[in-house]
Symmetry: C4
């Protein structure tokens, strides 16, 4: 889209996803650690499933919205790929963005199928996520032809987070439920989110003066800025993790152990989906 809004929208999407994932994985990790004092209630297999289904549906919905916005928004290609009159490809940037959303939609679809049926192996959702991120990075890489230096640089910096997430999601195929990898993925997702906003502000400043896109000093400043975003994302994820841990810990403590015994008998199900893999 090449506009402030075209960067703010995916930025918000990733920011919300990162924060939500942090909360989700923190709850699951906290309940697993407090197993002894009756955590099955908060993270029973059934409720985990329900959560995953809701999450996948929401991601699927927003991927569809993203694709439609890219296609039918103002200046979109409206599903026209080739302009036969002037003999050139039409709105390739919008098509690129729509393809990125498509892969996140595929991830959400597969995740839905995995968690509603028993058809597919559980780890497939991490592979699809890795492929979705890889595809995003791959398209960005060949997306930058002929742009000015700073424009290229801010997009290349984005790729650190994108390919980082690809790697982490791929590692999670083998180390599912590893809280370190999960939090790292959350952090990188938050970085992506805030960085999309930063790119919007730098390339299409809503008010104030334009940035000089050829000044090497701007490039050095922007690089450092990326480190700060990373530090900020680490801070957010840490704070969320601590809050969730405390809340889970205190809520479980308050529950009387008798009720627990009853619950245990009723919900005799595997403690976490990780162990079912």
């Amino acid at each position: 889209m090449g506009s402030f809004r075209g960067h703010a929208l995916p930025g918000t999407f990733f920011l919300v996803a990162g924060i939500w994932w942090t909360v989700k994985y923190s709850i699951w990790h906290a309940t697993r650690r407090n197993k002894g004092i009756g955590s099955t209630r908060l993270a029973s297999r059934a409720s985990q499933r329900r959560l995953e289904i809701i999450e996948s549906s929401v991601i699927l919905f927003f991927s569809l919205v993203g694709m439609l916005a890219e296609q039918f928004g103002s200046g979109g290609p409206k599903l026209q790929l080739y302009d036969f009159v002037e003999k050139h490809w039409d709105h390739l940037h919008s098509w690129h963005h729509a393809t990125m959303y498509l892969f996140f939609g595929l991830f959400a679809t597969v995740s839905l199928i995995i968690h509603t049926t028993e058809a597919a192996p559980l780890a497939l959702d991490r592979l699809m996520l890795a492929i979705a991120f890889f595809n995003e990075g791959f398209l960005f890489l060949y997306h930058l032809h002929g742009r000015s230096m700073l424009d290229v640089h801010v997009h290349l910096l984005l790729l650190y987070a994108v390919f980082g997430e690809t790697l982490v999601a791929f590692l999670e195929i083998f180390h599912r439920g590893n809280i370190i990898l999960e939090l790292l993925r959350c952090t990188l997702t938050v970085v992506q989110g805030t960085w999309f906003w930063e790119v919007g502000f730098v390339l299409y400043p809503p008010r104030g003066p334009e940035w000089d896109l050829k000044d090497p000093n701007n490039m050095m400043f922007i690089t450092m800025c990326y480190s700060w975003h990373l530090a900020f994302a680490m801070l957010i994820v840490s704070v969320l993790y601590c809050i969730v841990s405390c809340v889970v810990h205190f809520r479980l403590k308050k529950t009387p152990p008798v009720e627990m015994g009853l619950l245990k008998a009723r919900e005799r199900d595997p403690e976490s989906e990780d162990e079912l893999m």
Copy 2:
């Protein structure tokens, strides 16, 4: 060979291989999951072996055909490597392609030996496959000297699938029988197959106008096209996996459990070759 046919032939080869592998691994995975209800019949160690031997023989046959076609086809070097009259190397492209086929032939030979005798460790076939793919990518990498931009680009895109398969096959040395890795390898093989066809259509259009090989827009379109091929390959592999899973599930259900008991006694063999490693 530098012709439409020279790309369509390996394309068909990889497409068939990808689809066949998907079916094979889906059957094995489905029978392993349905162990309880008598799956040993469909995937006994002996039948798995027979399948591997047939597969290796077919790959070996086609590698030989490919090598011979490159050498003795029209415009081939006919085993002549150096033109002593004009003092230059003769038909190096055909020799390169023949070398690629050679390594797939070596993979098939080793795989044959592994599954007919007990001489070599089982995981060696994955190593040979990784080496065959690596060699293909390696030769392509130094194959592109002096070609036009789009020609180089479509071949470089191919390398994502080729080196991706190298990595996956190498990982399978340590994680043999991991269905996620197997399906990923199948997907990338299908991508290779369809992309070879695409390259043929772009560089040597059988009818219709020639492509402008220097237009950056064409490059951007082709890149996106590659993502679509990947999505398409993921779709094919998913659909095949689901069909095979259902068929296996229903065929096993129909078998009366009594017969199963008899079978079990008769074929007391390890459930899957993965566990023999």
Copy 3:
């Protein structure tokens, strides 16, 4: 800072850190190996914790000192980021260096929290260390714009150690307590330390003639020099490891076994924190 002292300071910091880590991990490894003859005394869980807390505090202190020195030292930006009068970024190099120190400070803070409370998973300290090293390498990479050839080269060589440490620290998330990885990280830290000194001597020779920064022969010599630093670091780490091993072995032997029995009863705690993960 761009001065001899600006390289000597972090050099000393890393050199001390590398030597200290070597001693620490050697002690822990030696006590684990001599488990039978009463090693719990030397490396009880409580004393390990205390050591980690002291170490983290010291690192945190020096990170703060580093940040303050970069900001308020002579020629520092004094927290001013943008020069509104002359409309350019102010002292970006100092800000870069301060950001590097910041991430080591974050590592130390998280490590402190991990070892004083039970809030966070143990492996998080290795992830934070990996991120701190990655951030250092990342900023160095975009730090070298417009410098002369040898200046760029000596900084690029530094990145081998920095990114090597990133990789090793990341692997330690999965292989915590692996003495090989720990010693490799120590070695690379010592290399970083001595190399910072070397860079200082080459770029800002305190006495003697200036180096010709454009001579390819100097570049070839410097590259070989890096290998020598690596060999030297390996020597230091080996010697330290041997000394520590011998000392631990002989001190444990001298302790009478009776006292051991008493100790064992008193300090019935897990032998090493690695097993608690």
Copy 4:
């Protein structure tokens, strides 16, 4: 050294090392597989140790010879590093080569210490080997400044084997005794050996015409040649592995089982050093 002999010598060294390693690992693997029929005699822990000590001594000896030859051979620097008269570095190429030999010497020294004493962890020898190969590749990488195209290319091709061996040796730290990785390392060592000879023949043809070092066709041929060397190395390693397997199998069969029982009682030691790690 820049001569035919300067490439033939390391070539022979690596070729012999590769063949020797193949034989060694094949024997160990074969005896482990034939455990049931009394293999302890052929690969007892004591004899394995003795073999490793001899091997390390030989490597150490040849590393010393290599270093001395580079220093004191005709045209060597004779330990002089800087020419103070003409103010330039002296014979940097010889110094580079000597440094490469130095690291293989360090590997051999550490390996000697590991197998004669119990001081160091076993996996350290693989780390030292990985570092030795890495250092070789690292120095080659910065060794090629200002040479002609084909000269650079043949040395870069060498780096595939060198860095491949680095990776494999590093993986062996975690997967010691994995026969697939061991044979892969053997293969790559043989490739290095034969490729050094090839480089000698191409750059310093002992007889016959000189090669045109700027012809792209020569480059394409040389690349393919590298694949052929790889295939040839795979063939050698396979044939050796098969011969050794058969010989071990038949020698063990001939031994009467009674004697075995006696042996077992006498040499009750761990079957392979891999399990001691």
